[in-house]
């Protein structure tokens, strides 16, 4: 490493520091068995289970294929929203965030590296879902790969600010997992992550219509199942963008680096 060249400026080069931080985030994530299991493996497990329950057709395509879109949606909310929120609360309350604030690592770089790291996990998870689907049920890979990648990145970009916002609103480490799952699981169920929702009553449909996950799943469905390009779904994009911006605003005003006073 070019330590001597950097010493002149007195600061580590931003690109090198960013890559270092991204590597560190990946190390921390995969080293934690709980995170790796509940965030990365759990959606895969659900897919295998649900794929063995459903048969026939969902959304006019084979069930195993229809379920993939729903579980990609669940994976996105689980990784970028729930997992991120829980990890951030734990790090804040244990004092890790506060400790990092006294290092030369810029706060914005920390957050961006964390979001990119989360996106990496989600992307690997999506890839794994397709591999499992293909191996067990012969489901196809996306035909329009560009649009599909765009949809994945948009989903992560919408849900991650909701994760940081939720972390900002949760006060203690003890309650983090309960609060987050209380939001995540009903949302995933109502939005069709675990199967079709046409038997839900109008009230539950109305709830789902407000939440962002349904729109992300619709977007993935359109791109993956029907081969539409991502920009043909402006309503989905608008709702996701709205939630993402809302999350950013809350994060901006409420995010804390320090644990609650003890």
């Amino acid at each position: 490493m070019s330590a001597e060249a950097v010493r002149v400026t007195g600061r580590r080069a931003p690109r090198a520091m960013f890559l270092h931080q991204l590597r560190s985030e990946q190390l921390v994530f995969w080293r934690s068995r709980e995170a790796a299991f509940f965030i990365f493996l759990f959606p895969l497990l659900l897919y295998v289970l649900l794929g063995s329950v459903y048969s026939g057709k969902i959304y006019g395509v084979p069930a195993a294929q229809g379920l993939l879109a729903g579980l990609i949606g669940y994976g996105c909310a689980n990784t970028a929203f729930a997992g991120l929120a829980i990890q951030l609360v734990l790090r804040r309350e244990s004092g890790i965030l506060k400790r990092l604030r006294s290092t030369p690592l810029p706060p914005a770089m920390y957050i961006v590296a964390l979001l990119v790291s989360t996106l990496v996990v989600f992307a690997l998870q999506t890839l794994a879902l397709f591999v499992v689907g293909s191996a067990l049920h012969g489901t196809p890979f996306p035909s329009d790969v560009g649009s599909f990648i765009a949809a994945i990145v948009i989903g992560a970009a919408a849900f991650a600010p909701l994760g940081t916002a939720t972390a900002s609103l949760i006060r203690s480490a003890e309650g983090a997992s309960a609060v987050v799952n209380f939001i995540l699981l009903p949302m995933a169920f109502l939005s069709g992550s675990f199967g079709p929702t046409h038997k839900l009553g109008p009230f539950l449909h109305a709830v789902a219509d407000v939440l962002p996950l349904k729109y992300f799943i619709d977007l993935v469905n359109a791109v993956y199942l029907h081969g539409h390009a991502v920009w043909t779904r402006p309503q989905d994009l608008a709702v996701l963008a709205g939630w993402g911006v809302g999350g950013l605003v809350v994060t901006h005003f409420k995010f804390r680096w320090e644990p609650r006073e003890r």
């Binding site: 330590a3 950097v6 010493r7 400026t9 007195g10 600061r11 580590r12 520091m17 270092h20 931080q21 560190s24 190390l27 921390v28 080293r31 934690s32 068995r33 244990s94 004092g95 890790i96 506060k98 400790r99 604030r101 006294s102 290092t103 030369p104 690592l105 810029p106 320090e258 644990p259 003890r262």
Partner: protein
């Protein structure tokens, strides 16, 4: 150049005035002890100097920076051990040091730092397997890995057993020999006496005394003279021990008596500290 200059520092949390007009200066290469009971305002003061808190009033310069506005250039040069913090439980000691080393332009060698804080045997161990004292040493290691000029140690040995404290003291002494400036907060007197070049005693948000440990013990309390007369203990406290003692002994010699159990002693730093912080200790005990 001064490493730290503080004047007229004030900070309130709501109605609670945590710091009420504090002034002090710390020289480069000095080990400075901030001493006082819990709630005296030590941590608030230190966290303002570290850049964590905004002050309400006063001037603060740390390594030439205003910590409230300072950025990464300032953070390149400081090392911080917080009163309470944990690290990622599933990383090893070496990985944790390497993560922090990556934030600095010119970090120290990771294994060298691990050896310095005495964790060589634990370098490959997960952080969650460390004892409380070992975790504190990890905190110190990651504070030193960036090769800082100024190290903040907020109660670095609280909860240590005596042996671990001795080991920590050795490490802090080694920081001095490396030429680092150290700001140490503690509520242990012996720690301040052992380590600090100068001590400031804080009480209720103010500094009530600053000086070397020796200065505090010679200037603050009166010298005590004790002896027994007719089986009763006599205690004299005086600012002029030489004159009082001369008079006392001359009178005894004239009477042909021996002053039984004669003792002349200066107060210990502990007694000075207890006298300085007496009221507050009573409040805390309530």
């Amino acid at each position: 150049m001064h490493a730290i200059e503080v004047s007229g520092l004030r900070k309130a949390y709501g109605n609670l005035e945590a710091v009420r007009g504090v002034d002090f200066t710390i020289e480069e290469g000095e080990v400075f002890g901030l001493l006082g009971p819990n709630g005296a305002g030590k941590t608030t003061t230190v966290e303002i100097l570290e850049g964590y808190r905004k002050r309400d009033a006063g001037d603060v310069r740390v390594l030439g920076h205003d910590p409230e506005r300072a950025g990464p250039d300032f953070r390149e040069r400081i090392g911080v051990v917080l009163q309470q913090s944990e690290m990622w439980p599933n990383l090893t000691v070496r990985e944790t040091h390497a993560v922090f080393a990556g934030y600095y332009a010119a970090p120290r060698d990771v294994d060298e730092v691990i050896a310095l804080v005495g964790l060589q045997q634990k370098a490959a161990a997960r952080v969650k397997s460390l004892s409380g004292g070992q975790k504190r040493r990890l905190d110190l290691g990651i504070a030193l890995v960036g090769d800082p000029d100024l190290v903040f140690l907020d109660e670095p040995t609280t909860g240590f057993d005596p042996q671990a404290r001795r080991a920590a003291w050795e490490m802090i002494r080694s920081l001095r020999s490396l030429g680092k400036t150290v700001l140490l907060t503690t509520h242990y007197l012996d720690e301040a006496e052992q380590l600090a070049d100068r001590v400031a005693v804080m009480r209720e948000g103010q500094i009530v005394r600053v000086g070397t440990p020796a200065e505090l013990t010679t200037t603050d309390l009166q010298t005590e003279i004790r002896y027994r007369q007719n089986g009763e203990e006599v205690l004299l406290q005086t600012d002029e021990p030489t004159r009082v003692l001369a008079g006392l002994t001359a009178a005894a010699v004239a009477r042909g008596e021996e002053l039984e159990g004669l003792q002349v002693r200066r107060p210990s730093l502990e007694e000075v500290y207890l006298a300085l912080t007496a009221d507050e200790e009573a409040e805390v005990a309530e």
